[in-house]
């Protein structure tokens, strides 16, 4: 079998034509006080010119470490200890810092994850962009400035000639990421390295950025390494995929091949953790049990063995190498099929919950407003007012899950806080039958780090004087069991838990007082894909078992539509579409919903290719001065003067749906 040749032989291709970048057996270590973290542990791959490679993998699997190793941008105590990094035939790893500085920015451009912190906050864009251009392209400052403006223009910064003299803080996150891209491209690099360039952005902006990157790299013919954990993005964007696990590439190959025929059990599980699109019945999401190995400890055998359903004796003694599984498709697993039959084994069907009109309404919200008014020292100045929530009405029945989606800043969290009574409403009514409890986005800050988990879970009980010590302890054990944690966790502290475990504890705490509704504000956004699936499964189970109602807030439309019975789409403090989840997702009525859904990448390269990509242009207007007409008019492809003049009200669109658009029908 020709394609089972070992990879080394493959790399030394006799054609003589070298790849753009060829990484061979890269090892990167972090020499910490507690031991050596082998973050990258023998990674080899190559990129051809104009090729886009996506690297996916769990958090901590060494993606960033690998990418940063390429240009030796690792912070102390990180160190590239071995390997070759041949860029156009020259080994970057053997270059001096000074030589490397001629490569950085000129031959290889880099884009980082967080646009908010990746630009120097006290320097104008011009001062950050122009000097590198002058240096790399040997231009005088005037030409460099023109060049910089040109790039800013290219990445879609309106009024680039003026904006170049702005400070980063004067721009939104999306704009800053565009600036980053412009900066990275301005040296006309042959290779781009992008470490999660869109993770911190809204879906709509994310879609814009991805399209932009795609367009610009194919235009300049640059190769690209693109790190992400969003498989949807991979499907939309990449030519090839590398899957990393515990510092190694476990699977590498053309994107369609990998999505269609994943060979490594990890890749297979990963793909199965994603809520399926367009499936009539809901199945439980796949879960990857356990934790990745501690990369400080020596590893015997396959790194994935402990979490692999198909692991056998050989996996425990010998680590598999990458072997060819198809043209350009390699995987590192002893089993040719990976999980094979074991795959999808536990993907049991989730029986749909029955809802009826007789179900008790537990939450009713009517014409809710929340305005944040600033303070003005000068009495004659009108204080600025943010209308965060601007007249919304909702209701939730017992056992029902309401999903709220919308771009950042549209007021989702504010609604949640109002529901919980954490902030007083400016006007409007909130009626909650029983008690509302909350699960927060950031598992790290939702717990008092000084409290033991038992105390955290019990806190609501203690505060409300529920039961005696024994009863409370019993209830705590019960709750831990409900969220699938062991009793031994009771005496731990929050920092001793993983993100997923923490979120379970948060759910346990929220359930302690048997609330009628649990409000979960982005409960999974901070979690890894595999862990996210666990939490979603848990919530689905709980709502069935306990018949609690959930309010599920997220900007991840796939997840929301998977878990919710009803969806409310918010835009600038208002609900623009409201109705049954399946219906809204499959057949969005409001142009904004349509745009949101179009922006969501689906983890299926074939489907992605077929999808119409018309990313929403522009950004959210300032909530400080809302337009008088339809708030969405400024970004709506179908907006008319009528829209701009008159505000559409939320009206029945179908039996189970309402939409706020003049042209919804």
């Amino acid at each position: 079998m020709n394609f089972l040749r070992p990879i080394q032989a493959l790399n030394a291709s006799p054609t003589g034509q070298t790849s753009l970048l060829e990484v061979r057996d890269l090892h990167t270590h972090f020499l910490t006080d507690g031991g050596t973290v082998k973050a990258v542990n023998g990674v080899s791959f190559e990129i051809e010119r104009g090729e886009r490679i996506a690297i996916v993998g769990e958090s901590g699997s060494g993606k960033s470490a690998m990418a940063m190793s390429l240009l030796r941008l690792l912070a102390y105590p990180g160190k590239v200890v071995a390997g070759q990094i041949n860029l156009n035939g020259r080994d970057l790893n053997r270059m001096s810092e000074r030589q490397l500085n001629h490569i950085r920015g000129r031959e290889v451009g880099t884009i980082f994850q967080d646009p908010m912190s990746s630009l120097d906050p006290v320097m104008k864009i011009a001062d950050q962009m122009i000097p590198p251009i002058m240096r790399h392209l040997d231009m005088n400052s005037e030409k460099a400035r023109a060049e910089a403006i040109g790039w800013l223009d290219r990445v879609g910064i309106p009024d680039a000639g003026r904006r170049i003299d702005a400070y980063p803080f004067e721009m939104s996150g999306g704009m800053r990421q565009r600036v980053m891209i412009a900066m990275a491209l301005s040296g006309r690099p042959k290779l781009m390295i992008a470490d999660e360039p869109t993770t911190a952005l809204d879906v709509t902006i994310q879609a814009q950025i991805v399209e932009l990157l795609k367009e610009l790299t194919s235009e300049t013919g640059a190769g690209m390494i693109f790190i992400t954990h969003d498989l949807g993005l991979v499907a939309r964007f990449a030519h090839k995929v590398g899957v990393m696990y515990a510092g190694k590439l476990v699977e590498f190959g053309p994107v369609k091949d990998i999505f269609a025929r994943p060979c490594h059990p990890y890749t297979q599980s990963l793909l199965d953790t994603i809520p399926p699109v367009d499936q009539a019945e809901r199945r439980k999401l796949a879960q990857i049990p356990g934790f990745p190995p501690d990369m400080k400890l020596p590893l015997v055998g396959c790194a994935f063995k402990d979490r692999c359903a198909a692991a056998h004796e050989r996996c425990f003694v010998e680590a598999p190498d990458l072997t060819l599984r198809g043209p350009g498709h390699r995987a590192a697993c002893w089993k040719p099929e990976g999980l094979g039959e074991a795959r999808r084994k536990d993907a049991e069907l989730v029986p749909p919950m029955t809802h009826s009109e007789e179900d008790r309404v537990v939450v009713e919200v009517f014409n809710l407003h929340k305005h944040f008014t600033g303070r003005s020292v000068l009495p004659w100045k009108v204080p600025p007012t943010v209308r965060a929530v601007n007249g919304i009405s909702l209701n939730i029945r017992e056992g029902e899950t309401l999903g709220i989606v919308g771009e950042s800043g549209c007021g989702k969290s504010t609604v949640a806080r109002l529901l919980l009574g954490l902030d007083p409403a400016t006007s409007g009514d909130i009626y909650v039958d029983g008690m509302a409890q909350m699960v927060f986005q950031d598992p790290a800050s939702s717990f008092n780090p000084k409290m033991m988990l038992a105390d955290i879970i019990q806190e609501p009980l203690v505060v409300t004087g529920w039961g005696n010590r024994m009863e409370r302890a019993a209830r705590t054990r019960e709750l831990l069991a409900q969220v699938g944690l062991d009793e031994s966790y009771m005496s731990r502290y929050p920092n001793q838990l993983s993100g997923g475990q923490r979120q379970r504890i948060a759910i346990a705490r929220a359930l302690a007082l048997k609330p009628s509704v649990v409000v979960a504000d982005e409960p999974t956004s901070a979690l890894d894909v595999s862990v996210r699936a666990q939490i979603i499964n848990l919530m689905v189970d709980l709502k069935r078992q306990l018949r609690v109602s959930f309010v599920f807030i997220s900007h991840d439309l796939l997840t929301v539509s998977y878990i919710s019975d009803k969806i409310a789409v918010m835009y600038l403090g208002e609900v623009v579409e409201y109705g049954a989840a399946d219906e809204v997702f499959r057949n969005p009525a409001h142009p904004y919903t349509q745009a949101l859904i179009a922006a969501v990448p689906v983890p299926d390269p074939v489907a992605e290719e077929a999808r119409m990509k018309k990313p929403l242009s522009g950004e959210l207007p300032s909530p400080l001065d809302l337009p008088s007409g339809c708030a969405f008019a400024s970004r709506c492809p179908r907006a008319t003067d009528h829209c701009r003049a008159e505000k559409p009200l939320l009206q029945a669109y179908s039996k189970s749906r309402e939409a706020a658009c003049h042209y919804a029908n």
């Binding site: 500085n101 990746s118 900066m183």
Partner: protein, 315 residues
Amino acid sequence: MLTYSLKRLAQLFVTVLGVVTLVFFTMRMIPGDPISAMAGDNLSGAALDQMRTQMGLNESLLMQYLTYLGSLAVLDFGNTVTTKLPIIQLILDALPVTVSIAVGTIILTVLISIPLGTLAAYMAHKGHKTLDNAITGVAMVLDLMPSFWTSLVCLLIFSLALGWFPASGTVTIDDPVQLMRRIALPVLVLSMAQIATMARITRTSVLEVLSEDYVRTARSMGWSELRVLFRHALKNAALPIVTVVGLSFGNLLNGTVIVEFIFTLPGIGNLLVGGINSRDYQMVQTLILFYALIFVIINFATDLVYRVFDPRVQF
């Protein structure tokens, strides 16, 4: 900007009034008054009492306070008790000396501690702990020596043994060379105590900045370490440093008291100690008023500088 200034002005007013009131009543709570302080061994009680009545120290406290506020309102700061000289004149004469010590100290401190702190931070960032520890260690030892002790040691070394600087001699701002020679040692002594703090702050803030994403961005654009350190890191780290410089300027006015005494410098610390010892109410009140004003103004200036350095802060 207008709003901001108005707010600061109101704040300044409240603070200064509070300080003035506090000092007024503290001074009068302290046992002894100007007359009893003046009394040496050879003055009898009767003679002193006569003087006391003459000076009107027997009016009610409230009356004295109101009178004082009244005179403040017309910017009349009065004369000293013992020497009957206009207080404002004395302060204005002494102020340049103290201010030059303070400014000199700040300059020396900044010149030494910022490169030192930056170097330490860079070393720490690169994992070279030994040099980092050595720098912080030396700075700390300097910091922890009482200034009256180091003052004398400096005098013995630089003045007596080496003869570089005089231990005495008149000081005026009219003669800058003499001024420099006279304040060199005090500035050195005071800087010792400041350098450690400032270097530590610099180290911490530079270190923090060095692990910021934008530093990595700059490096990814091909800039050398040095340029990254000075163009990006230091500029961003400047914010906390500026704040500390401002604060320490305020504290320095305090610190000059001891060195002014030992190095016989006619600054306001000297006036303050003299004023307190002679229970010269008017003198102490006025001095404290000045201290408070300087302090508040420096805070204000620090704030302004901060805003200049950081475009993100809006007025």
